[in-house]
């Protein structure tokens, strides 16, 4: 901050000392050698949020709007990730709504919605009874969210394990609690002995 004057060793700065207000003899604050902390302590606490009926109503409107947008055809899902090996059943997955992308007239929203829903449920053929029940009875929003999350776990080992298990046995695997979830929560701390 202190720029050295030309030829002088004494303390000389590019702006006049008296004019800006540092009188002689006062020490400058120490220079900072690291970036400012991420969450600095605040001297003044912020004001509380406004409450009231209007605010709550707008909050509800906002959350409903978000939920509604997820179920409209405007919410575009990325392509389903391809598994490493081509499966025979891939032929029978109608993973894309039949060429509605190019001929898409926004007025035919209702048609597209049903197509999208059908295609997404068909995508995940190996499914437990329980999951099917959820998708039917739970809201579209929740189903979409779950499917979206499942889609995003491209290398989701949980998904893959279930598929493998279900293809080999006749039993529905989720009925058996094999104790995985119990120990699974404390994954980080392997030092503890698991009794």
């Amino acid at each position: 901050m202190a720029a050295r004057g030309r030829g002088r060793g004494r303390r000389l700065m590019s702006f006049s000392v008296e004019a800006v207000g540092i009188s002689r003899g006062e020490s400058l604050p120490p220079s900072i050698l690291q970036p400012t902390p991420l969450f600095p302590p605040m001297e003044q606490k912020p004001l509380p949020l406004v409450g009231g009926e209007e605010v709550e109503y707008m909050l509800a409107l906002k959350q409903e709007f978000r939920g509604a947008m997820r179920s409209l055809p405007f919410f575009i899902q990325p392509d389903a990730p391809h598994t490493d090996v081509e499966r025979y059943s891939d032929k029978y997955h109608s993973s894309e709504p039949a060429d509605s992308s190019l001929d898409w007239k926004p007025g035919e929203a209702a048609v597209a919605v049903s197509l999208v829903k059908v295609s997404l449920t068909a995508c995940f053929a190996p499914q437990t009874l329980e999951k099917k029940e959820e998708e039917v009875s739970s809201g579209e929003e929740e189903g979409e969210e779950k499917k979206k999350q499942e889609e995003e776990e491209a290398e989701g080992e949980e998904e893959y394990d279930e598929e493998e298990f279900e293809e080999e046995t006749d039993y529905i695997m989720s009925y058996f609690d094999n104790g995985e979830e119990f120990a699974g929560d404390s994954d980080d701390n392997m030092d503890e002995a698991i009794y």
Binding site: A19, Q44, K62, F74, I76, D79, E96, A109, S137, S138
Partner: protein, 547 residues
């Protein structure tokens, strides 16, 4: 397009339209106008997904297409508009305003139009009637004509407008549906045309819509499927094909601006003055263009006649109130003449500037304390002051004043202006004056607001992701409960299922819901500040151009 704006737009697109649209949208925002091939190559998304995303963006008015810059043979270029995407933050406010002005019907009309971007009048009326019927008691349903009436009223008051028809260029690349009303206009029309430049912007088409809203019951599922099949095969036409409507955001903004001025007057003076200002604004609604600095002059006689009937104040009292309003330092109302008992105008631009100034002062006060705010207000009023003068006028001891000034300087809220006495700018012979410029400071705070909202959204997404397992579990249990209740189960089964969530988990869920609500509510309130600052900046920019 600043980095903060792009980040915020990306988050909004992701929440409302998904990741694919977000990728395409942010790419367009960052890189300006691009043609289709470039977008496909640079985002690495497959062609059909890019096309779908562009369709979605155009449908919602966030993207416009125009013929290429390199001449009539070059491919069509797409350009995203970040301002339109930022409007998504304000949707709840638009819907709520429609509710206060036109009731539930108006609210649902605006909500449907905001969700779908562009819609024909007939499909809007049908969907809204169905939704209203769902909420009514058994046996009652909503008439289409009632909904049409509300729709027409919204169009009359300019809250809704027609989507501008698109010129059919050489290649039919337009995704916006439109009838060929203007046959083959030349593709060199690069001037952006506003929806209002078309004559029929606010004309309600003649639509034959007779019927009532349909209620979807589970017992009527079979019937509905048959009806749906029939509808697909035999689309009913209502005489308004190809005429699409969109929400007119500018009109809503004028309404918000008026509301802000009226509530400011009510806070500063009293209820009666705010009623007078409200009357003046109402009278000049139709005659004032949106970018005007002040309304048309209204005589005191006219104001007296147009006051609402339950406000029976006498004529001399009205004159006193008007004088008070004119003398107020906030300058909401000005006197422009003496004919007709006094000609008064509402100073729109000055009111906005004062509101923005109050916002800036309040920000400084809440962040740095009331003494720093005093220094800030002083500098706003006196423009340029030296260090010594600041200390004297603000009546703050020198050391603390210096400290506060440096803090404000480091936050860029206060600037230093050098005035040299000699041509060599020697430091000992130069004046250093502190100053505050309202417009650049407002711009900086606006960017801060964008950053704030983006941070709030990210934090909300983070919180949701953290408790994803818990949320999924609670959703599963709700689903099971719902299905059990629908199939008529005993109370013991219901309580058994409810107990699957343990009390600490319930608490965690409660606190998660509370946090998410707080973050959402904060976004709404920051948007109010964004609106004020944006209006002020826009008003200053247009008025500078006019001179």
């Amino acid at each position: 397009m600043t980095a903060q704006e792009v980040r915020l737009c990306g988050l909004l697109l992701q929440e409302h339209f998904g990741d694919v649209v977000e990728k395409v949208g942010t790419h367009l925002l960052r890189n300006g106008a691009q043609h289709l091939r470039a977008i496909v190559q640079e985002t690495g998304t497959p062609m059909d997904l890019v096309k779908k995303s562009l369709c979605v963006l155009i449908q919602h008015g966030a993207c416009a297409f125009s013929s290429g810059r390199k001449g009539p043979g070059s491919p069509v270029e797409y350009q995203a508009s970040f301002e339109r995407i930022l409007r998504i933050l304000r949707y709840p406010r638009y819907i709520y305003t429609a509710k206060t002005l036109y009731g539930d019907t108006g609210e649902l009309i605006i909500e449907e139009l905001l969700q779908r971007g562009h819609m024909t009048m007939s499909s809007t009326v049908k969907t809204v009637a169905d939704r209203l019927t769902l909420n009514m008691e058994e046996g009652h349903s909503m008439e289409y004509s009632e909904v049409s009436n509300t729709f027409s009223k919204l169009v009359e008051t300019h809250f809704l407008q027609r989507c501008p028809p698109v010129e059919v260029a050489g290649k039919a690349v337009s995704a916006t549906p439109d009838p060929a009303t203007t046959p083959g206009a030349p593709a060199n029309n690069t001037t952006p045309s506003t929806p209002e430049s078309f004559a029929d912007c606010y004309k309600v088409p003649h639509v034959t819509l007779i019927g009532r809203g349909k209620r979807r019951n589970s017992s009527e599922d079979g019937e509905d499927q048959r009806n749906a099949k029939r509808a697909k095969e035999d689309p009913e036409t209502h005489g308004d094909e190809g005429i699409y409507w969109q929400v007119n955001f500018e009109r809503f903004h004028l309404h918000f601006r008026d509301q802000a001025i009226i509530s400011a007057v009510a806070n500063k003076l009293d209820q009666t003055s705010s009623e007078i200002v409200r009357t003046m604004l109402r009278m000049s609604e139709v005659t004032t263009p949106p970018i005007a600095t002040c309304t048309q002059a209204l005589s005191a006689n006219e104001i007296f006649r147009s006051l609402p009937p339950n406000y029976n104040i006498s004529r001399p009292i009205l004159d006193q109130y008007l004088t008070l309003l004119v003398d107020d330092p906030m300058e909401f109302v000005g006197k422009s003449g003496d004919s007709g008992g006094g000609m008064y105008v509402v100073n729109l631009h000055r009111a906005l500037a004062n509101l923005a100034r109050a916002t800036l002062e309040s920000v400084v006060q809440e962040r740095f304390g009331s003494r720093s705010a005093r220094i800030f207000r002083l500098l706003l009023r006196k423009r340029h002051l030296e260090q010594k003068q600041v200390e004297d006028f603000a009546m703050i001891p020198a050391k603390e004043a210096k400290d506060m000034l440096y803090t404000l300087l480091s936050e860029n809220l206060v600037q230093l202006q050098e005035i040299p006495k000699t041509p060599d700018h020697a430091p000992s012979r130069t004046f250093y004056l502190y100053t505050v410029n309202q417009l650049p400071t407002a711009r900086m705070l606006l960017q801060n607001c964008f950053k704030t909202v983006a941070n709030l959204i990210e934090r909300r997404l983070f919180e949701t992701k953290e408790s994803k397992r818990l949320l999924e579990k609670s959703q599963r249990i709700e689903a099971i409960l719902a299905s059990l209740q629908a199939s008529g189960a005993e109370p013991e089964q219901l309580t058994e299922v409810e107990e699957m969530i343990t009390p600490p988990e319930k608490q965690q869920l409660e606190s998660l819901r509370h946090h998410i609500n707080k973050l959402d509510s904060a976004e709404n309130q920051v948007d109010e500040t964004i609106f004020l600052l944006e209006s002020y900046i826009k008003s200053t920019a247009t008025n500078k151009v006019i001179g």
